[in-house]
Symmetry: C2
Subunit: 375 residues, 2 copies
């Protein structure tokens, strides 16, 4: 399948309801594709429909039917933070000519206490939730283990990932942290959230929507690899916290489908819910060996001017992380990069890009590989 | 596509967690299909993951990965009360040889106050929810309008629908009301919930799961029609409350795919969330003209010994309505009927069956038509 058009709202604090954010991202995607909504055969949406949100809407597909005034099939595919990637994976397989994929989340209208409760529900309930093992805690444990096992890696490397993503966001007008310069010192001295993770090691919750049109018609952007992988929800059931099976399996499958190697990737959006998650993904995706990510971080390999820029959009860290929209915002960025439309943050000669989206602490993982088709 | 195996738990009050109910229904479906889980290529699940539930699990797909110890793709497709039907519709299109479809809900562990809040979220929030227009209220308005417009129809006809479904449930060991005889007098004298709907006009919330294996291998049960249709969430945006567009469109599409007429259907499971919903569906599905359902109700056309038995399982009314499991429990019943395995409630010579599943007040509707393949 191919991608015909992409759209996304600015990520941040929005006074608009979810369906209006979805509408805005869709409109941009339709304009970008140069088609009308009547050309769309089906819609796959993704949203978590937070209970504590002021929106109180639990049947988002039917709400979109009202917004778009359509009776065409609309399904919702939530998958914690991997909802966008999961929706894109499903959309390709529905057998239609043109499928609209749209992900949206409103996080800024919930109180932080209630949103923590809801986030926690994506973790295992009987041991993890009751121990207060929320996502910063869970990922801090991973970071502790990693730093203990691979002693050449330090919190300095984590800070450099954060600094890279913030520096990229400075160049992305749709990013939450656009225009807000953050220094490496500021990152390294930010408050501890859960040791060793500091404030700037954690992604930022925002409101936002992103959309794309998937088509069987040949366009300039082809989806050459697409995979979705499930992983055991309870983290203690997994053999090794420092290898995320969902990432390893889904990327391996996507690379096999695409017939390319990790070294063929020119630009990537990696799920940096926490800096340690991005670091481990470098390894699990095959960009470097286990325990050796620190070398590439030191040499600036993943920087905007490096060999393979990662999270040129600013990533979840600094562009923002509107849960179910995130996977599709990654696709937006990769498409813009491959087309050469990324302006100040353009990677030169990018032909093949990868998007990596994680739900929960790795419970659902999707990998998509896109290729620029010339001529 | 074909159906290879079906399974469901007993519907009622269960001490088991959702994932265990899903496991139980899956095990029966796998045994029925005579395959092992390793033969399954992907899983489509459906569950609403109620916030107020004691389960507090929001990433059900990853929970199932743990239960089944698999890394194969698992996606979740909730669609309010049409989640089961929506999951089945998606499963057929994933391009795999064998897909497990499983729907589950735990409703009996929520307090009635909180579950009402959550149910309400499937209705429009800005006018309907704030006016307290919950689903009994919404459907009572429909019933009031219907009885006002079609004066030959009375609450007696609604009571007869309830009585039929309760009589069928008496013969279904997996039904909530199995073994609990309900008389027509009891139904007609039951407390008013929202006029003209009485207690026995409303379906019964239960815990339960249902599953099926969809396959591209030829079996004795072929899915000859399958459609999913979206309808505007706000009910005031619809032209006519007495014609449910979702049902009309999805059934028309399914009949066209199947190449059959309503008169070819031998047995049907119809979404009787309320008796008035079943009555209107008789008409919208094409089994009788608008305003004339009362005639067929009077002649016992839809009774177990009638021309086209409806809700032989007991329906949502008396088998029970575990939201996301309902659409797949309908498939379970139709498969059992077509195979001649429905025992005391067997419809003679049933060759073609229909399952009709509604989400919310019609916001998502699915129709599936199954055919017994001989020889």
């Amino acid at each position: 399948m191919y991608i015909k058009g992409v759209g996304m709202t600015k990520f941040g604090i929005s006074g608009k309801f979810s369906q209006m954010l979805a509408y805005e991202a869709t409109l941009e995607a339709l304009n970008d594709a140069d088609i009308n909504f009547k050309d769309i055969d089906a819609v796959v949406c993704s949203s978590l429909e937070w209970f504590f949100s002021i929106e109180k809407q639990r049947h988002f597909a039917a709400l979109l039917a009202s917004v778009f005034k359509t009776h065409k099939p609309i399904i919702r595919v939530p998958a914690a933070c991997a909802g966008g990637g999961a929706a894109l994976w499903v959309a390709q397989q529905l057998g239609y000519d043109n499928v609209l994929v749209v992900g949206v989340e409103k996080l800024m209208t919930c109180k932080s206490e209630s949103i923590t409760d809801e986030f926690m529900m994506a973790a295992e309930s009987k041991w993890e939730q009751v121990e207060g093992l929320n996502f910063p805690g869970q990922n801090a444990l991973v970071a502790q283990q990693y730093l203990e096992k691979y002693k050449k890696t330090t919190t300095e490397h984590l800070a450099l990932i954060s600094f890279k993503n913030h520096s990229n966001a400075l160049l992305n007008p749709k990013a939450r942290f656009y225009g807000r310069k953050v220094t490496l010192e500021e990152i390294k001295n930010s408050p501890i959230i859960c040791s060793p993770l500091r404030l700037y090691d954690c992604s930022i919750s925002v409101d936002g929507a992103a959309a794309c049109v998937v088509t069987n018609e040949k366009t300039d952007i082809k989806i050459i690899g697409s995979d979705l992988c499930a992983e055991y929800l309870p983290t203690w059931e997994r053999e090794d916290s420092l290898r995320w099976e969902g990432t390893i399996i889904s990327s391996k499958n996507a690379f096999n489908q695409a017939g390319v190697e990790p070294s063929d990737i020119d630009v990537a959006e990696i799920h940096d819910a926490f800096t340690i998650v991005e670091l481990i993904a470098y390894e699990d995706l095959g960009f470097c060996k286990k325990g050796e990510a620190y070398k590439k971080i030191e040499e600036g390999y993943f920087n905007l001017d490096g060999k393979m820029p990662v999270n040129t959009s600013g990533g979840l860290k600094a562009k923002g992380h509107p849960v179910s929209a995130t996977g599709l915002a990654q696709i937006y960025e990769i498409v813009k990069q491959l087309r050469g439309e990324a302006k100040d943050r353009q990677v030169s000669k990018a032909k093949i890009g990868l998007a990596h989206n994680i739900g929960g602490a790795g419970g659902t993982v999707t990998c998509h590989i896109l290729k620029k088709i010339c001529g």
